[in-house]
């Protein structure tokens, strides 16, 4: 029963977080993009636009509830079989990814359907392009962001230093993983690699994400050219930086906190309730933060377009993201344009970037994401399980 209730809590949180973000997805778009299609600026707020958005949201909610029901059935069956049995454990733990991937797949399906409904209303983006010849102001990193970045590595170094100073106090072997029912099912031995690995992983993750964000910033396309619009676009990019920082802090505190706290508890075998609470509540907060930041970014872009229009920017008719719809394939999720020199472009759903598959560099990045990063994670997981 305890394991079922745990899974119920996790799945409810999952439903609220992921379902909420997916239902809000059409609100994260650029002003002239609607379900990855270039449209007239007033189309999304027209009756036809609203109907399509409502229908998308309805589908997302119904499918999310369906997957939630299925995951509960799985968790219930797992609890009934018994978590101590392998199959029961698989059913219990498997209910989370089933609900997550199910919701995601359902949202993609709803998105593609909505896109088909929007396509007849598509308009050709302007073929006149205007750019500012001054070097954009957002290239420099502000002191706030720099401090936040340094703060991450300060936490990691401070954790490492603390562990080094109290090395002898760390038990030779201590519990480091608990099953769904709260029983210990993983141990860590006191070796520099086993203790330091989470810190190393946090440092690598942070460095990768900071580097990635810097690359994205330097490769981002400037859509507008007037001073005010450029400033607003820069603000939107900075908001993106803060989203990434939120993710880095969540993971760094999780990994460093766990490494520093777990070995020194009075009862090392006790279920680490604060740690699990932090993971769930922190993850929830992070997703809420992501949703709010994405709305803010969308708002900045909307303001940028208005500023561009107010300044008399001729290209600010229908400009979208300066890419044409015909190069967006597979429901507007995959971009492939041989005439575009950009390797990374903004996703049309409004959050994140995607690669231009017509450029060879995209395949290198793809290999990095599909092979190298998961490879490192699998290696770490295997090492920890050993």
């Amino acid at each position: 029963m305890k394991s079922f209730l745990t899974m119920l809590g996790v799945n409810v949180a999952n439903l609220l977080m992921l379902g909420g973000v997916l239902a809000l997805l059409p609100r994260f778009r650029r002003p002239e993009l609607f379900f990855a299609v270039t449209v007239a600026p007033d189309f999304p707020t027209s009756e036809a636009g609203r109907t399509i958005e409502r229908s998308y949201r309805r589908r997302v909610i119904y499918q999310a509830l369906g997957w939630f029901g299925l995951s509960l059935l799985m968790a219930g069956a797992g609890a009934w079989v018994g978590e101590e049995k392998g199959f029961g454990q698989t059913l219990l733990v498997g209910s989370i990814p089933i609900a997550s991937f199910g919701q995601l797949a359902g949202a993609i399906h709803a998105f593609i359907r909505a896109r088909r409904q929007v396509l007849p209303h598509a308009v050709q983006p302007s073929r006149v392009r205007e750019v500012s010849m001054t070097v954009p102001p957002e290239e420099s990193v502000g002191p706030g962001l720099m401090l936040l970045r340094l703060g991450l590595f300060f936490i990691i170094i401070a954790s490492a230093l603390y562990l080094w100073l109290r090395w002898e106090a760390i038990p030779a072997r201590f519990p480091s993983h608990w099953g769904v029912g709260g029983k210990v099912d993983g141990w860590t031995t006191r070796t520099p690699l086993a203790i330091g690995l989470p810190l190393l992983f946090a440092a690598l993750f942070d460095a990768f994400l900071i580097g990635f964000m810097a690359i994205m910033k330097s490769q981002t396309r400037h859509i507008y050219s007037s001073e005010e619009a450029l400033k607003l676009e820069a603000k939107a990019r900075r908001a993106g930086d803060f989203i990434a920082m939120g993710g880095c802090y969540f993971l760094t505190i999780l990994l460093c906190g766990g490494t520093v706290w777990l070995p020194f508890r009075a009862d090392p075998s006790a279920f680490p309730v604060p740690f699990v609470l932090y993971s769930v509540l922190g993850g929830l907060t992070l997703l809420v933060f992501l949703g709010l930041a994405a709305l803010r970014i969308s708002n900045y872009r909307d303001q940028a377009r208005k500023a561009a229009l107010a300044s008399g920017e001729a290209v600010a008719q229908v400009i979208g993201d300066r890419t044409e719809d015909r190069y967006w394939k597979w429901g507007g999720l995959v971009y492939s344009n041989p005439n575009d020199p950009a390797v990374w472009v903004e996703k049309r759903i409004g959050i994140g970037w995607t690669t231009n598959m017509a450029r060879w560099q995209s395949w290198v990045w793809l290999a990095l994401f599909i092979i190298v990063l998961p490879g490192v994670m699998v290696a770490v997981a295997l090492y920890c399980a050993r």
Partner: protein
């Protein structure tokens, strides 16, 4: 007909003033649009400096039209040259990198690189390997008699084309006078 038009225009006080006061902007306008084969009416590809409420003068921008008959590299080149000549881009000012400009305009790197190379060959830009393109302080060469003759010849053709497109002779003269006065004011 050309001769008649020219004689008429030459006789007007406005054109005399204009010819005397023709400055870099006017010369460039004719040079870019007509000497090199672009249409008279094609003024979509151009440099623009919009005024803003805050600063009084907007950022120096260039505009290209992918549907124009003029090659994109030439549109970039012409627009950039105009910005430099007008003083909107000052010597020493750093320009966006070839890669960034290509990404922003969604054109091939080589298109932007070609425009930068041609401007560098004319002495408007310095293409440093590390620091990217910077605007140079360029002293224009003293005009030769040949330059003036060529210009007058092209101007004659331009006037004829404009007239053919429906502009009145007086109107043409007024426009040219206004251009020259504006340029003198800027100086």
């Amino acid at each position: 007909m050309f001769n008649k038009t020219w004689q008429f225009l030459e006789g007007t006080a406005g054109l005399k003033k204009t010819l005397n006061g023709l400055s870099a902007q006017c010369i460039l306008y004719v040079y870019n649009r007509h000497w090199r084969g672009a249409d008279v009416g094609d003024v979509r590809a151009r440099a623009s400096c919009r005024e803003t409420k805050e600063t009084g003068m907007g950022l120096p921008t260039i505009r290209i039209d992918l549907d124009s008959t003029v090659a994109v590299y030439r549109q970039i080149e012409d627009a950039l040259r105009a910005l430099i000549v007008e003083g909107r881009l000052k010597p020493g000012e750093r320009l966006p990198t070839v890669r960034q400009l290509a990404i922003d305009l969604v054109v091939h790197h080589n298109t932007v690189a070609e425009a930068y190379r041609r401007l560098a060959a004319e002495g408007w830009l310095d293409l440093g390997r590390r620091r990217g393109a910077t605007v140079t302080a360029r002293e224009g060469p003293p005009p030769t008699p040949e330059t003036r003759d060529n210009f007058v010849q092209r101007l004659r053709e331009l006037v004829a084309k404009a007239e053919g497109d429906g502009l009145k002779r007086k109107e043409i003269a007024t426009i040219m006078e206004e251009l020259a006065v504006k340029e003198r004011g800027a100086e």
